[in-house]
């Protein structure tokens, strides 16, 4: 484990002193952002777009990115925890997928070790059937599922991911043992989409952005969405009488062991960025829903998510201790 270099320590001390003296928002100089995923994915885009907004709003002067993908973010997190301890300029992207991934991988490092800065965006999960499917609506689907759980094959992303968790939550809601969900995991969006529109699985579950165009073109029919209220013309699961809500959120973290003041400075910097026009434009272009929750409230939220997801993963026979 790398210890704090004298230079980094001085810098940290200087910033802390400056904060204490001025008590006002001080621009963070040189931010290093760990993106625990390979370039091009959701966390990468979110991280880089946030970085752009931080620069544009003047919240930071300079920003460097470090992509370290693998094991649902566990590898990047492990490096972040080890190398950035106490560094007030270090940030890391993360999200809901990481919570499940860390539980499943029985990771030695956890999100409780890093400092919560802010929850940023969310995306909701949509349940679809191929256009030609005999399943009419959500009620019809759940009735068939209840009658014979195995007969409904659910196609989505990797086992234990957001898609699988939603299927598990729905099973629990209608009184089917989550372990009975006949879940068929696919790698990457393309394979799953092809299996769904080709009619090889009964139902598809994924983030709205993955399916939106196929719903629009009429190759898939949307049955419900995992948000609280309807999005576009897709009614939420709750509105249809199934009390299930699931947000695939993304957020940002600070290094372990930074002070309250340093945490506050980073929250301030991120908040400034999210209020800038460039961030608004990003949200619109990427179709992300803002899901702001700062600092320790965000920390409490993660703790709750950790519990909820841990329970459902255990129900799905995944992530057992």
């Amino acid at each position: 484990m790398k210890s704090l270099s004298p230079r980094a320590f001085l810098r940290a001390a200087a910033i802390a002193a400056g904060l204490a003296a001025a008590g006002a928002a001080v621009a963070v100089d040189n931010v290093k952002m760990m993106i625990p995923a390979n370039p091009g994915g959701g966390w990468d885009t979110t991280g880089r777009e946030l970085g752009k907004a931080m620069l544009a709003s003047g919240a930071v002067k300079n920003i460097q990115y470090d992509n370290k993908g693998g094991a649902a973010g566990a590898i990047g997190l492990a490096q972040f925890v080890a190398a950035s301890k106490g560094d007030p300029n270090a940030l890391m992207m993360g999200g809901m997928v990481m919570v499940g991934g860390l539980i499943q991988n029985k990771s030695a490092v956890t999100l409780a070790q890093v400092t919560p800065i802010a929850r940023l965006t969310s995306e909701y999960e949509v349940i679809v059937v191929p256009a030609s499917s005999p399943i009419k609506d959500m009620k019809d689907l759940m009735a068939k599922f209840k009658a014979n759980p195995g007969s409904i094959s659910w196609g989505g992303g990797s086992a234990g991911g957001t898609d699988h968790i939603l299927a598990g939550l729905l099973a629990k809601e209608v009184g089917v043992e989550p372990g009975k969900v006949n879940y068929v995991p696919f790698k990457g969006g393309g394979e799953a989409v092809a299996a769904i529109i080709g009619g090889h699985v009964s139902v598809g579950v994924s983030g709205l952005s993955e399916f939106a165009q196929h719903i629009q073109s009429g190759k898939m029919r949307a049955l419900g969405i995992s948000s609280a209220a309807k999005i576009g013309s897709i009614a939420s699961l709750k509105e249809q009488g199934f009390n299930v809500e699931l947000a695939n959120w993304r957020g940002i973290f600070g290094a372990p062991g930074i002070t309250k003041e340093q945490q506050a400075a980073l929250v301030k910097a991120v908040e400034t960025a999210t209020k800038h026009a460039s961030w608004a434009e990003t949200l619109k272009r990427q179709d992300w829903t803002p899901y702001w929750l700062p600092g320790d409230q965000y920390g409490a939220f993660i703790e709750e998510e950790n519990k909820r997801i841990g329970e459902i993963l255990a129900g799905l026979n995944l992530g057992k201790k």
């Binding site: 091009g40 094991a71 990457g188 299996a195 009619g199 995944l318």
Partner: protein, 497 residues
């Protein structure tokens, strides 16, 4: 005809000075990315995505696509010269191409791969232009049982790489199958053979093993013999260019490779590696000199190189017509479209015809550029082999380490590379072939995954593989491939002789 008019309008877009320049930048970058180890086309396009805010949509997409198929041209260069495949699709090229290079035929190997890539790229673009809707419909008929049957067909090609000793070959194959199991099992989310090492959770990259076995293992082996034997590595024998004989042996392989590669590109679980294996096996079966395979047969370079290029162009079919990415790079291209608020799919052909057809036309242009760019380089590349051996070997080791590190920026992978390299040395010393390891590693996990998916869908009923007509036909083909040669010997016209 409508398509012709559309294509003509596409060329009008692609041939503007500005878009020609973007295509040139794209294919040049792509070639460089292909040659440089560790930098893949997917990462390159991802890192260039921010330029979408400055450049217009057709220019940027033409450049990105150029990077994608340009990398397929460049990837063969290091495989042939240094035995270090930069992408998994050029592993087969390394097998036969490097053998050619060792016998002083690096020039023809590079030339047949460049011209074959051009032929395949162009033919596949013609396929993309005229057959897209048809091919996509067929591709969607493939579900897990069909894919599983396809993998079984691919497994029958293993015999072509087993080498002289079937027992040793099978040992290598099973080693590959075992390595393929490492990592989180996609179907259950449980880690297998990871021994608590987080770096192993995502599995082991095929390229790491291939470079370890081929480049590092071979280099250590060669170094261990250095000074003992006479120079075996000839820099150049005969002409740098392809002779009439080479042309005669190459052209059919190019065409067959294209026909194998293109359909694989269009299906979501195809990838570019499997068609290269299939093409290699087919060429070996059909060659009038099968004894040359493994010792530098030009067909063994020409076919697989055409196949991987055709498959990368084939991947454009589902991307453009359905918005369906079938490879990592295609997925990034999809997000490039989305940066412009464009959604690939049938609607795009109507709403943005100029853009789509401009892009398609740019493939024709880009392939010509790549040929012009790559052929004159052959003479230059061949000079690389004149470097004295100790330096060349050192260079190969550095190159291999850089490439493997570059893929995931993981020091762990570099240690793994050298561990595998030592293993490769031992295998080489005792006559175990390396190629079956790679075949097992690629096919094993795919076959397993598709089989388990199919059985999940059928709720455990294995009849799903024979009740689906495509799957049944493919399985029958696999049986035929295995049984027919034996039956022919046993009952054929010459059986009694």
């Amino acid at each position: 005809m409508d398509v012709w008019a559309q294509l003509a309008s596409g060329f009008a877009v692609a041939l503007t000075a500005q878009n020609l320049l973007w295509a040139l930048v794209g294919v040049t970058l792509g070639t460089a990315v292909g040659v440089l180890p560790g930098v893949g086309p997917a990462v390159t396009v991802a890192l260039l995505l921010p330029i979408t805010t400055k450049v217009d949509a057709s220019g940027a997409l033409i450049m990105f696509a150029g990077i994608y198929y340009g990398a397929m041209y460049g990837g063969s260069t290091t495989s042939i010269l240094l035995n270090t495949p930069g992408e998994s699709a050029t592993i087969v090229t390394a097998m036969e191409g490097n053998q050619m290079a060792r016998r002083g035929r690096a020039g023809p190997a590079l030339a047949t791969s460049a011209i074959g890539s051009f032929v395949a790229g162009t033919l596949a673009t013609i396929g993309l232009t005229f057959l897209s809707p048809l091919v996509v419909e067929l591709g969607l008929k493939f579900g897990p049982p069909e894919y599983f049957a396809l993998m079984i067909v691919a497994f029958t090609t293993v015999s072509s790489v087993l080498g002289d000793s079937t027992l040793r070959g099978m040992a290598s194959l099973f080693l590959g199958l075992a390595i393929g199991l490492v990592g989180i099992d996609n179907q259950t989310g449980q880690a297998r053979f990871a021994f608590g090492v987080p770096q192993l959770l995502d599995g082991i990259e095929v390229v790491t093993i291939a470079v370890g076995l081929f480049a590092v293992g071979e280099t250590i082996y060669a170094a261990s013999k250095l000074g003992q034997a006479k120079e075996t590595l000839e820099t150049l024998r005969g002409s740098v260019w392809m002779k009439a004989e080479d042309w005669r042996r190459s052209w059919k392989a190019w065409i067959r490779g294209t026909f194998i590669g293109f359909p694989f590109g269009t299906i979501p679980a195809g990838g570019a590696e499997i068609p290269t294996f299939l093409s290699y096996a087919v060429e070996r079966k059909l060659s009038d000199r099968p004894e040359e395979f493994g010792k530098g047969a030009i067909e063994g370079v020409a076919g697989p190189e055409a196949a991987n290029n055709a498959s990368s162009t084939g991947a454009m079919v589902p991307l453009l017509t359905l918005g369906l990415p079938t490879s990592a790079t295609a997925a990034i291209l999809l997000s490039a479209f989305q940066q412009y608020g464009l959604q690939p799919g049938p609607l795009l052909f109507e709403a943005n015809a100029a853009l789509v057809w401009g892009l398609i036309a740019s493939f024709y242009v880009g392939n010509v550029m790549l040929l012009v760019l790559n052929l004159p380089m052959v003479g230059l590349w061949v000079k690389l082999l004149e470097i004295p051996k100790p330096q060349l070997y050192a260079g190969i080791l550095v190159f291999a380490a850089m490439g493997v590190y570059g893929m995931r920026q993981s020091p762990f992978d570099v240690f793994l590379l050298y561990a595998v390299g030592l293993g490769g040395f031992v295998m080489r010393r005792f006559g175990f072939p390396a190629a079956p390891v790679i075949v097992g590693m690629i096919l094993g996990p795919l076959a397993e995954e598709q089989m388990r998916r199919a059985l999940a869908i059928s709720q455990g009923d294995p009849r799903i593989f024979v009740t689906h007509p495509i799957s049944a036909a493919l399985l029958a083909l696999a049986v035929l491939v295995i049984v027919a040669p034996w039956a022919w010997r046993r009952f054929g016209p010459r059986a009694r002789a």
